[in-house]
Structure formats: structure tokens, C-alpha cells
């Protein structure tokens, strides 16, 4: 065959493939996730309002503030730290869309690392979007990466040195939001993002923070609440109540290691008055031993390879034919915060935070989380926002 012909055909194939993929990448990066804020919304600020360091960047996230006007405490709920863990941002959104606060304040960030949600993780073959069925249609979100998009934060250093501890971490962790707390105003994008979030925590005088995550079943920190040492009482009681009364799979409680830096459960508690908590729930699609990678696995959490590893006692969480459906993962996160607030109110009545409108665990499992997400096309314009 004529070599010149082969070269021309190859070039055309490369141009066509790049064009097709480019269109899909652009669609993914530019897709805006509608949020129908609950009736109790007081105001929506931007993260950049708390620090200019992140203003105008892709991580200048919406900050949804629900203020009862009645004196009490304040909690910051953080979703989207790792954009490959969708239960985290959807759990935050369940609060944003349904919350009514009768005492104190609740502040929610659905997507704290928006940049990470604008690309998927190279080599992991993730779907670009995931969907949840609702009574009014299907709601769609961006599936993302663990770290910020290199289009927004590049190049990486040869080794990432955490500020201020000086701890060495893998180079890509400079884009991993949960290795960048407490951040700095003139650092890389994720460092600036966590710095702005710390400013928010200090300015809003948050009493507690909750950072939602998901983890592979091979990972020992699983189905648990990781707490700063100042939160041990609240976390322990929350864990006991949920395990004995609500969850079929127990939720544990662990202390934040003092020598491991950059994580929200360590640094927020160390650098502010807030008590920091982080909740983990099992997500089989994060396991390296998983089988076919697709949206079905992401949402059903059912995987035969991971089940096989379970038979060999290689997992830290149980898994069976039912898998770990997204509804269950989200319901666990939402209910963990509700129970945490209940215990917090019991132990700190002077800083109580009372909320209504959030579905119970049983309701979310029975009806599906989609039943509690609202139709943006039917909502008043002033209540629809985009993350």
C-alpha cells in the first residue's frame, strides 16, 4: 500500500477522533449542574467572597447559606472534594435542595473542587456523567477526577510539599483538595481553594464541618466517621446511634492521625475553632480490582470481581449481590450529618443547629434519592443555581 496514502488516512483518522473526543470533553467541561435551592435558603455567596485568592477561578464555588435568624451554631457541609466520589456532592445537594433551618445556620458547598469535576481520571475509563431518576425526569451530574483538572492547575511539581507542615506527598496530590488543607492564598489552585474555605469557616464561625467521601472496599478507612480529636464524643455517639438504630452495615469512628497532613479532618480542626469530621462510605467503582467500568457500576455499586475479593477476605466492607447502590451511599451520608447534629445539639445546646425538611434514611432507601431532588424547569427562577 502507498505509504503516503496510509499517512494521509491516519492523519484524517486522528483529526476525526480528536474532533469527536474534543466535542465530548467540551460538553463535559461546560455542563452546568442545576441546583434548586430549598425554601429555607437565605443567600448564595461565592467562595471568592471569603478570599480573593479563588475569586473568578473555576473553583469559585457557590456557597449556599441557610440562616434561621435564631441564634445557634453553624455547620459547613462540604461536597465534591473528590469528584470521582459522586455520593459526596449529591449528598450535599440533598441538603441544598430540601433544607429548612429553625435554629442556627447551615452552610453547604456542593462542589468544592469544581475543577476536578470537569475531567475524568486518565486511565480509569470513567463515564463522563451520571444520572439519577426522579419523579419528573432524569437529573444529570458530571463524573470527575480525584484531583483538579490539569487545564486549571499545571504543571505539577516533582514532589508536592504540603504547606505548612513540609510533608512530602506524590506530585499529583498538589491537585488533590484533601491533601491541601489549610491552604495558602498564593499557592496552586487547590491550595487557594482550601485557604478560601478556611477563611469561610473562620468568618462564619462554624462550629463543625463535615467533608463527604467515598472509598474503595480494599481501603481500611471505610464506612466510618474520621474525627478531629475535639470531636471524639460527638462522633462516637453518632456512630453508636447509627449502627444500633439505622444502618444495616455499621459505621465506625476513627481519630484523625496527627502525623498525616493536608486532610480536612486534621487541618480544619487544627487551624480553626471548628470541629472537623469526614464521612466515608463504600464505593466499589474505586477498587482497582473492579470489573467492567461503566455508569451502571457507579450507580449500582455491584461488581462480581469485588465480590470475589470479598470471598478471599480482602475487603474492609461487606458486599453481596445487592452491591452498594448510590441511594444507600447518599442516604448514609445525609443521615450521618442529621445524627451528628442531633448529638451536637444534645452536648452543646447553646450552639444548637435545628433543621427540617431532610428525608429520613428509610425514605431515601424506599423512594430513592431522586424523589428528593427538584425539577429546575418547574422551580422559581430565583431558586435555581448552577454548580
Amino acid at each position: 500500500m502507498n505509504l503516503k496514502f496510509v499517512k494521509i488516512m491516519t492523519l484524517l483518522a486522528v483529526i476525526a477522533s480528536t474532533g469527536v473526543a474534543g466535542k465530548l470533553f467540551h460538553e463535559h467541561r461546560s455542563f452546568r449542574e442545576p441546583v434548586v435551592a430549598g425554601e429555607g435558603l437565605s443567600s448564595v455567596k461565592k467562595l471568592g467572597d471569603y478570599s480573593k485568592s479563588v475569586a473568578g477561578t473555576i473553583n469559585d464555588a457557590n456557597v449556599y447559606i441557610f440562616d434561621s435568624g435564631v441564634p445557634g451554631g453553624a455547620i459547613l457541609i462540604i461536597g465534591g472534594t473528590h469528584a470521582e466520589e459522586p455520593a459526596a456532592n449529591v449528598s450535599a445537594q440533598v441538603f441544598t435542595e430540601n433544607l429548612r433551618v429553625t435554629q442556627g445556620r447551615v452552610i453547604v458547598i456542593n462542589r468544592i473542587n469544581t475543577s476536578a469535576s470537569t475531567c475524568t481520571r486518565l486511565g480509569e475509563a470513567y463515564p463522563r456523567f451520571f444520572h439519577v431518576k426522579t419523579p419528573w425526569g432524569t437529573k444529570k451530574w458530571r463524573m470527575g477526577d480525584r484531583t483538579a483538572n490539569p487545564l486549571d492547575s499545571w504543571p505539577d511539581p516533582e514532589v508536592y510539599i504540603h504547606y505548612p507542615s513540609g510533608q512530602n506527598l506524590a506530585y499529583m496530590d498538589v491537585r488533590n483538595l484533601n491533601r491541601n488543607w489549610p491552604g495558602r492564598p498564593d499557592g496552586m489552585l487547590t491550595e487557594r481553594t482550601t485557604f478560601a474555605a478556611m477563611e469561610l469557616i473562620r468568618a462564619e464561625k462554624a462550629d463543625l464541618t463535615m467533608d463527604f467521601h467515598e472509598a474503595e472496599l480494599e481501603y481500611p478507612v471505610e464506612n466510618t466517621i474520621v474525627t478531629h480529636q475535639r470531636g471524639n464524643e460527638v462522633a462516637a455517639m453518632t456512630s453508636m446511634m447509627l449502627t444500633s438504630q439505622t444502618f444495616d452495615v455499621p459505621i465506625g469512628m476513627e481519630f484523625s492521625p496527627t502525623a498525616l497532613h493536608g486532610l480536612s479532618h486534621r487541618e480544619i480542626g487544627d487551624h480553626s475553632d471548628a470541629v472537623s469530621y469526614l464521612a466515608e462510605v463504600a464505593e466499589p467503582m474505586l477498587d482497582r480490582i473492579r470489573g467492567i467500568t461503566d455508569e451502571e457500576l457507579l450507580m449500582s455499586g455491584r461488581d462480581r470481581f469485588v465480590m470475589k475479593a470479598g470471598e478471599h477476605k480482602l475487603l474492609y466492607a461487606p458486599i453481596d449481590e445487592k452491591g452498594w447502590p448510590a441511594d444507600k451511599r447518599i442516604a448514609r451520608h445525609v443521615t450521618t450529618v442529621m445524627t451528628l447534629l442531633q448529638v451536637h445539639n444534645m452536648l452543646h445546646p447553646d450552639r444548637a443547629i435545628l433543621v427540617e425538611g431532610i428525608p429520613s434514611y428509610a425514605e431515601m432507601i424506599e423512594k430513592g434519592v431522586g424523589a428528593f431532588l427538584h425539577d429546575p424547569s418547574a422551580a422559581p427562577k430565583g431558586r435555581v443555581f448552577y454548580d
Binding site: 477522533s17 463522563r128 504543571p155 516533582e158 451502571e296 462480581r304 470481581f305
Partner: protein, 444 residues
């Protein structure tokens, strides 16, 4: 048909497509690309088991191919810029100057000369984590000195590869350990000592095994055989580009919160500028850039295709199946087999093996009560030894290219490297098995 059967058949299609493509004399890069496409086609065509699956459209398949191709984009940039810098330095006569000076100074002291050369080879990989960078920056220079010391072509090519592999394993930067640790949410802390002990021991053993003995250097003959360096070269000029290279790299480490992050590609380009500034001869910058890209097409091509194959294997469950097969092996079999599995998988997937096998292995070893830091350090020294193995053989191919090796790749170069490789693998296996005890001893 279950998902297990599906992923097994996809793996079979990968092997068959690769074999058929090679039979038709396609290059390794194109054969691997054909294998990736075969995996995707098989995935679409074959039943996927009892569980429901999402629809995979053609545009999404194309997206996975293009996305996979970008996996090692940064590594490719580093290859290109590092080689450009070193090629300019060579063209300027810098390499010839340094080699002539080293031979002149140390021709009578082989031991000192070999120790110095070993450490010169360890530095670039230790600070960048890339064995290919070692070969591309100082491989040709050290190879020339070894040739002047009477080390045969097979032995010096094998040694350059082994030292490059050990340099990549050497702390402070070991990308395999870093990537696996990051995947397992472990801090990259406590790895320095075990990595240094294993990699420096492996490097020194390789050096003295392959180049320890040789005829005494006949100074006049050696100098006559070496290319002349332009007279204007001095140590000050010769060191300047390397001072820029090391200075910029270390500055980021010394002042991490005030020095801007430049990235290795820019650091190498600035070092290239420094070379052009001190060069006593006029350099053809664009011509060298063009030659560099041409010479590295194979190397860059393989990295692009490995990314595509990895993405296809992940999508189809083939990667998970391999990973599952490794972690479900009985522990004694695992101990006995990792010294083969790790280098062989590195030959196929490059750095992608670290999260693929490293993360599940860390979890497994942690569960077994072994020391995960010491164990991961031992694997992270075994992995780079696979960089001379097919189908990628990135560092091996770079060594052959840089040294202008004319012998047979497997029967000459790889066979010569076999004894030091086996010794290093045995040492790492022993460290892995006794990781708990060693951890208590050295605090890993």
C-alpha cells in the same frame, strides 16, 4: 457467560491481536494499538454477564481512546525536553570535554572512577523519578567513559540501563512508591531509607559486577579514540547547564512555598538555554529540536499507546481481572512470584502498574500484618527493572539508542543485565518477606 469470562476473552483478544499484528511485521507501538482496538471491539461484541450494563456508544469509545492517549502526556514532555537539552550539550562538545577530563583524572583509579560514575548516574533519576531521564541526560556521557575504561558494548549498555533503573528507584523521588502510596492514601513518608539502601546497593553491585574488572586504561589511546572538545570549554562552562538544572530542581524543594513551580519540561528547556549560552560553537537549535522529536517518536509513541491500552483494559474489566488474579494468589505463591510479576507488568504498563498492583498489594500486606512502607519500597525497586522488557522497554530502548548499541537486544544487552537484575530482585524479595522485622529495625 459471566463477567469473568468476558474479561478473560478480552484479554485473549488483546494477546491474539498483538501476536497477529507482530506477525504482519507491524511495529510494537502499532501492534499494541491494534490490541487495544481489539479489546474495545471484543468488549462491544461479547456478552457481559448477568448484571445490567450501560450502553457504550461509538463516540464514547473514541473518547476513551483519545483520553487514554493523554495518560502519559507529562512523561512524554519530560522525555522530549530532557533529550533536547542533552543533545544540545553533546553538540556543543560538553560531553566530550567532561569524558576526556574524567578519563584523564581517574584512568589509574578504577574503583574511585566507578563509584563516581555510579553516583553521577543516580542523581538525575533520583530527583526526577525517571530512568529514561537518566539515560537521556548522562547515559551517553557515562557510556563514553565506560568505553574508554575498556568495558564491552554489551556490559556498558546493560550497566547504563541498570543504573538508570536504580536511579529511578532511588529517593527522594520514586514515582511507583509515590503513586501507589497516593492511591492507598498513605503519605510518602518513611520511604527514603529503605529505597536508598536497596537502590544504592543494587547500583553499586551492578557497577562492580559489570565493570569492576577490565584492562587498565591506556590514557593516550583512550584520549585519541574520544572525540575532541572545542578548546574554549572549561569546567565552569561545562557545569553551568547542570547547575541550572539541579539548581532549579532543588530550589523548588528548598523554598517550596516561595519558588514558583516550573515543572521538569521547563527546567530542561531552561537548561538547554543555558547550554546555548555557554556553548563555544554555534548550535542549530531548530535542527536539533527536529532531530530530537524524530529520534524519540518510538519512545513517545509507546507511552501514548500504553495509555490507550490501559484505558481499554480498565473499561473492559481486563485490568481488574489481572489485578484480582494477583491479589488472590496464596501468600507463599505471591512471595515467590512477585519478582517476576512486577518487572513483567512494568514492561507492559509502565507507571500505571503502581496503582494497578501496588494499591491492592498494600491493602493485602497491611491486612497480613506486614510493613506496607518497607514492602512498597521493595516493589518500587523491582518495578523499574522491567523497563527493559517488552512490549514497552522504554529505558532499555533509550539506553540502546543513546549508546548507539549494535548488538542483539535480548541475547546481548538483556542477557548481560540478567545476573545483577536477579540479585536485586532476590534482595528485594527478602526485604519484602522480612518487612515487618526490617520496619522495626529501620523505622519504615
Amino acid at each position: 457467560m459471566t463477567m469473568f469470562h468476558h474479561s478473560m476473552l478480552v484479554l485473549l483478544c488483546i494477546v491474539l491481536a498483538f501476536g497477529v499484528a507482530k506477525k504482519f511485521r507491524l511495529s510494537t507501538e502499532l501492534s499494541m494499538f491494534a490490541a487495544a482496538l481489539a479489546a474495545l471491539a471484543a468488549h462491544v461484541a461479547l456478552p457481559k454477564g448477568a448484571d445490567p450494563r450501560s450502553v457504550l456508544s461509538l463516540p464514547e469509545i473514541v473518547r476513551h481512546v483519545v483520553e487514554g492517549a493523554c495518560t502519559y502526556y507529562d512523561v512524554c514532555l519530560i522525555f522530549l525536553t530532557a533529550t533536547y537539552f542533552m543533545t544540545l550539550y553533546k553538540q556543543a562538545g560538553g560531553v566530550a570535554f567532561i569524558v576526556r577530563r574524567i578519563v584523564g583524572a581517574f584512568h589509574a583509579r578504577r574503583f574511585v572512577c566507578l563509584v563516581l560514575l555510579t553516583f553521577v548516574m543516580l542523581i538525575p533519576g533520583a530527583i526526577t523519578g525517571s530512568g529514561a531521564t537518566t539515560v537521556l541526560t548522562v547515559g551517553a556521557l557515562v557510556g563514553s567513559v565506560l568505553a574508554a575504561m575498556g568495558v564491552s558494548e554489551d556490559r556498558r549498555t546493560a550497566l547504563i540501563f541498570l543504573l538508570a533503573a536504580m536511579s529511578a528507584a532511588c529517593p527522594p523521588i520514586n514515582l511507583w512508591a509515590m503513586m501507589a502510596a497516593a492511591g492507598a492514601n498513605m503519605p510518602y513518608v518513611g520511604f527514603g531509607l529503605p529505597l536508598a539502601l536497596l537502590s544504592v546497593t543494587g547500583a553499586l553491585f551492578s557497577t562492580f559486577w559489570l565493570a569492576g574488572r577490565g584492562r587498565p586504561v591506556e590514557l593516550e589511546k583512550a584520549l585519541a579514540d574520544l572525540p575532541e572538545a572545542p578548546a574554549a570549554w572549561t569546567w565552569l562552562r561545562a557545569m553551568f547547564p547542570f547547575v541550572v538544572l539541579i539548581g532549579l530542581t532543588l530550589a523548588g524543594r528548598a523554598w517550596p512555598f516561595s519558588f514558583p513551580i516550573l515543572g521538569l519540561p521547563l527546567v530542561f528547556m531552561l537548561s538547554a538555554v543555558a547550554t546555548a549560552l555557554v556553548s563555544p560553537v554555534r548550535l542549530r537549535l531548530l535542527e536539533v529540536a527536529s532531530t530530537t522529536v524524530h529520534n524519540l517518536l518510538g519512545l513517545v509513541g509507546i507511552m501514548v499507546v500504553v495509555g490507550i491500552l490501559n484505558q481499554a483494559m480498565t473499561l473492559t474489566g481486563a485490568r481488574g481481572l489481572l489485578s484480582l488474579a494477583v491479589v488472590t494468589l496464596p501468600v507463599t505463591v505471591l512471595f515467590a512470584a512477585l519478582w517476576i510479576i512486577l518487572p513483567a507488568s512494568e514492561g507492559v504498563l509502565q507507571y500505571a502498574v503502581a496503582p494497578l498492583f501496588g494499591v491492592p498489594l498494600i491493602m493485602l500486606f497491611n491486612m497480613l500484618g506486614l510493613n506496607p512502607v518497607i514492602s512498597l519500597a521493595s516493589w518500587a525497586v523491582m518495578w523499574p527493572l522491567g523497563d527493559c522488557l517488552p512490549p514497552t522497554a522504554v529505558v532499555g530502548r533509550a539506553a540502546v539508542m543513546e549508546l548507539g548499541y549494535t548488538g542483539d537486544y535480548y541475547r546481548g544487552f538483556v542477557r548481560t543485565a540478567l545476573v545483577p537484575m536477579l540479585v536485586i530482585l532476590a534482595m528485594c524479595t527478602a526485604v519484602m518477606i522480612y518487612s515487618r522485622e526490617l520496619g522495626a529495625l529501620i523505622g519504615g
